[in-house]
């Protein structure tokens, strides 16, 4: 297939995703999904920190920064999982376009990738807004020190982590698409399950070391754990942090996720064609 055809399909899918999901034309609706909801999530963990620390009298700004970065960058997981988790249902049963996309020469793969990339764009907008308002509220209004020097962020590490992280989450999204193509029974909750498990075990708002040993084992197997570690390294410049090892683990776990995600999607597409699931409309 010509590269130009693929690029065109990806571009169109990003555009469709932007139109369908972003609601940018309505400022209030845009604000609800891109600022208010994620900011409320950040405020919850921020106040848990403030109130929990207040109860013990020990404030640890480094932990605040740890949690602040973790919770903010988790937006990528939420956004990509939501976009890709609902995509098959929306396009197959609601908009009824899945079969037409499947039939088009540019293939469903590239379309899904484009929609996922739109999720990445949306998450990035949301992240920047949440970080900006988060800093303004906690540092500006509540005088909570956030020990991050925003002018000395390690951009190469940040960029590398983001690229690997996005590839990994999109691959995970393909796994969700594959499952949803084969069964419609879990499509509305699958992304929430995945997000919930990654939030609990991925070292998002606390160190995985306080989890029971089986929880730590799960945490060690998840790419999100290494993704957030390398992201934090880029922002917090922690001396002595084993960032190269984390980056290596991130790369390895990402590769494993790609194999699982892409493999599952491929099998699902084969089975979908065999069992006539590509245009099966579900009603509720």
């Amino acid at each position: 297939m010509a590269v130009s055809t693929i690029l065109k399909a990806v571009k169109q899918a990003i555009w469709v995703g932007w139109k369908v999901e972003t609601n940018w034309a309505d400022p209030l609706v845009f604000a609800i999904y891109y600022l208010i909801r994620p900011l409320a999530g950040l405020l919850i963990v921020g106040f848990i920190y403030l109130i929990g620390s207040g109860a013990t009298g020990v404030f640890n700004p480094n932990y605040f920064a740890f949690m602040f970065i973790g919770n903010s960058f988790f937006i990528y997981v939420v956004q990509i999982m939501t976009t890709m988790g609902m995509l098959i249902h929306d396009d197959r049963s609601h908009y009824e376009v899945l079969k037409h996309i499947y039939l088009a020469p540019s293939s469903l793969w590239w379309y899904i990738l484009g929609r996922a990339l739109n999720g990445v764009v949306n998450a990035s907008i949301s992240l920047l807004l949440t970080l900006g308002f988060g800093v303004a509220i906690f540092q500006g209004l509540l005088h909570q020190q956030i020990p991050i020097n925003w002018f000395s962020v390690n951009f190469p590490v940040l960029a590398l982590s983001l690229v690997l992280g996005m590839i990994c989450f999109v691959a995970l999204g393909f796994l969700l698409c594959g499952i949803n193509i084969m069964t419609s029974r879990v499509q509305f909750m699958l992304s929430e399950y995945v997000s919930g498990i990654l939030y609990l075990f991925g070292g998002v708002v606390f160190l995985p070391e306080i989890l029971p040993s089986w929880g730590q084992a799960i945490s060690n197997a998840l790419p999100i754990t290494y993704f957030l570690r390398t992201i934090r390294f880029a922002f917090l410049n922690q001396a002595g942090s084993a960032f190269q090892t984390d980056l290596l683990y991130l790369a390895v776990t990402t590769l494993a996720t790609i194999l699982v995600g892409v493999g599952a999607f491929k099998i699902a597409m084969y089975k979908a064609r065999k069992d006539g699931l590509i245009d099966r409309k579900e009603e509720y």
């Binding site: 949690m67 606390f206 306080i210």
Partner: protein, 269 residues
């Protein structure tokens, strides 16, 4: 008069039955609604543990996570419900039937309460079993009273929202989204609101859940009694007495407005 009452009670029961039957028919949903909240709740418990906060904070989170199930139900299965009913054509059928629309709302609320209680009990049990919540309860009747008033006030708020969104399409959906996490935050679902800045406490005081959560936590975790939570009781009673009649007025007003403007059964807005 009596016939009318019997008819509307039948309607409320039927709507409750539909909700309970439909809500528990798919085991996947049931499991998800019990399991997913436990994941979030657990993360916040671990946060407090990381901060070495006193054990009662674990109890605060478990109680908050449990009560949130009711808030989610009120938002999605009450406030936004008429939007779905309109899309499926059910609203039209309710409106041409000789019944009180409040009976439908009552049935939805009771059905939602039954379903959510099932889930909430599972969340609570999981929280208690996993995290060994230190309960300290000497006035169970006060605890039940607090819970009952909180639930009635919450569902009364849901009925008001449902009425207000009778004419609206996707706005109802967006508004439910708008209120979800911000209310988790403002009502202090995962921390006591007494530590919030004044202006946030002021905002939080418009949400019945804030007073309910605070009262329940005081009674169940901090071993306080009616003498300590009477203000919470009073505020919740005021909420109920304001919200219930207001929802009826709003429902009549919106229905009439819809009939005048011809928007009552207009879909895909």
């Amino acid at each position: 008069m009596l016939d009318n009452l019997v008819l509307n009670l039948r309607v409320a029961y039927a709507r409750l039955w539909v909700r309970v039957k439909g809500g528990n028919r798919e085991p996947e949903w049931l499991v998800a609604e019990m399991f997913i909240p436990v994941l979030t709740l657990s993360a916040y418990v671990f946060m407090y543990r990381m901060l070495h906060a006193p054990p009662e904070f674990t109890g605060f989170v478990v109680i908050g996570g449990t009560m949130i199930a009711f808030w989610v139900n009120v938002l999605w299965n009450m406030s936004a419900q008429f939007y779905w009913e309109k899309e499926t054509g059910n609203l039209e059928i309710y409106l041409v039937a000789p019944i009180s629309r409040m009976a439908i709302l009552l049935g939805m609320a009771l059905g939602g309460f039954v379903n959510t209680t099932l889930r909430a009990v599972a969340i609570l049990a999981a929280g208690i079993l996993i995290f060994q919540v230190p309960f300290s309860l000497s006035e169970p009747v006060t605890a039940l009273l607090m819970f009952f008033l909180t639930i009635v006030a919450l569902y009364a708020l849901g009925m008001l929202f449902a009425s207000l969104f009778l004419l609206y399409g996707r706005e109802a959906w967006h508004t439910a989204n708008l209120f979800q996490e911000p209310v988790y935050f403002l009502s202090g679902s995962y921390f006591p609101t007494s530590s919030l800045p004044f202006f946030l406490q002021l905002l939080a005081s418009f949400i019945p859940l804030t007073f309910g959560l605070d009262g329940i936590r005081q009674v169940v975790i901090l071993n306080k009694g009616i003498a300590d939570v009477w203000l919470n009781v009073l505020v919740l009673v005021v909420f109920i007495f304001v919200l219930l009649p207001l929802s009826k007025v709003a429902l009549n007003y919106m229905e009439n407005l819809g009939k005048k403007e011809g928007r009552l059964t207009l879909r895909w807005q």
